[in-house]
Amino acid sequence: MTVAAGIGYALIALGPSLSLFVAVISKKPFLILTVLSSTLLWLISLIVLSGIWRAFLPLKSTTWWPFALLIISSVGFQEGLRVLFWKVYKRLEDTLDAFADRVGKPRLFLTDKMQIALAGGLGHGVAHAVFFCLSLLTPAFGPATFYVDRCPQMPFFLISAIIALAFVTIHTFSMVIAFNGYAEGNTTDQYFVPVVHLVAGMVVKSAFARCFCLLSQKFSLLRILFLIVLKNCQLSPETALVVFVWLNVLCHACSF
């Protein structure tokens, strides 16, 4: 609608990730590189998916099952990519430990490993926010706004910004949970992540007529996710509080 509104939408989508970046990631250059590489990986997965699905687009919007198929295939592909990411990470961890031994430094602590996982998840989340929300925001800087048929109560930009915010959080923390699960062999955690991802994708699609219900459903899912993360990991209290407060504010704002 204006430059201010455009910046507002961008900040809704990327606010918590920006605070996470400044507070945790910018202090360690290795984490910055991890964020960049995981963003690239997510982008490549998206390009591959779009290459596969290009022939079938544009999808007819009246039937729901092509979209379900799309979501299932995409989520499945991305979860497979997460396993690949884990394998690469294991090898990287060995290299880093060997290097640490060579230069006489301590090996990677648990917090270091979790920070790497956090950075990886943040990369995925930021990639999602950038490609699904920010890159479509260009018209929002102009004088008008845009509504979609699926949800005519709110401007499209606001919807995509809020959903992007939700997905940023999901991606960020599910990477931490997944890595923790793979490391400890905890199958509950391992399966929890893809299930949440799939459910989130489906929920977005299915509740097209009830925008507000959709959003509050998604956010309660997020709250559950977040509490599990807090239980398992030792994030610094400041970042945890910041992100949690953001989530709650938005939940309440959206569900009126």
Binding site: L36, T39, L43, I47, R54
Partner: protein, 433 residues
Amino acid sequence: MAQNQRPASILDTLGEEIVRIITPVSICMLMVVILVSILSLDDSSSSSAMPTIATIAYSETGSDSSWDKFMGALLNSLVFVAVVTAVTFILVLLFYLRCTNFLKIYLGFSAFVVLAFMGGEIALFLFEKFSFPIDCVTFLVILYNFAVVGVLAVFISKMAILVTQAYLVVIGMLVAYWFTLLPEWTTWVLLVAMALYDLAAVLLPVGPLRLLVELAISRDEDIPALVYEARPVAHHDSGSRDGVVRRRVWSERRNVLHDSGGDVNSNAILSGNAGSNLNSGVVLSVASGHNDTRLAGAEEGRVVEANAELSAPLIDRRMNDNMHRQEEDGTSENLLLEGIGLGSTGAIKLGLGDFIFYSVLVGRAAMYDFMTVYACYLAIVAGLGVTLMLLAFYQKALPALPVSIMLGVLFYLLTRLLLEVFVVQCSMNLVMF
């Protein structure tokens, strides 16, 4: 926080040098994207562009067929690459004849022209766009001072490093913006052509850049060129972690140069790391000669005569025995100590040509849409990382342009053709994952 009690793990400093080179590249790209999005109102007017060396063979108009545009762009790029090759050979000749002073003066002159004339023009565009009230005299005084300080920053090595870095980034940004004003097909084919030229010029035995680099190595001299040097990494024995610049004495490193030779191969990922106070990491010198921008430039004529970009060969200085002779010079002139990546500081140097062409690619992507910008940015940074890793692996002079440009162009095409449709379709139907 609890971490203050623990000893610092390697995660705190690993990869710092790479990040220190990625940051200015990102800033340059960001500024070019902002300039392009503010100033490019309509593409149709820019295609009736000024005559430049890059459009001498063919001026693209909107109504030509794709094949014509492609052939025209190819002709343009061939002419441009030929001119660049010729100028680079002249540069090699001059360097061989030890006309270093002439080259340095020429460098300063071209920096002045870029800052004063190109910078001034862009400032005028911005003033026009935002209706900024300023009078001629003030503007000229400010511009003149700005340009002169820039020339000094480029010339004098004792200047504050932040000022030098800032001016180099600004010069890169200005030249890159002017390149984005070229017609579309010409720009893309030109980028690919320059990447191929860079590959040939650095790797082939008769390549001018390779000759230049070998000459400089054999003489232990600095090529007078516009080179961005990243701030050197602070090492642990200094106890401070906030990037205090500590110029390392040559002799301290001499002992480990041989030992560190074996380490690098096994730590291919860790190129550029200065994990220990003996700096067993790779001394990356992304050295590049660069930027010989000759603007025969009256603002009205705006003929960009030649823009010889000597793009970055990456040299691994560790393997060079000549370095050992350096320590005898000791405190001799900075010009020797700061030669091609003779980072007495071990810092990475990247040539300005790389900044420029990366920013041109991203700026051109910005003229289409922001999604392509993000994709191309990630591709270029990935290419830069890959190049640094290849350097650690092969340990010889490598060009920095080809991998990044090829990845960038590939991602641009993939995004424009495949990704954009997919994402827009998904978002419109609120299908997000």
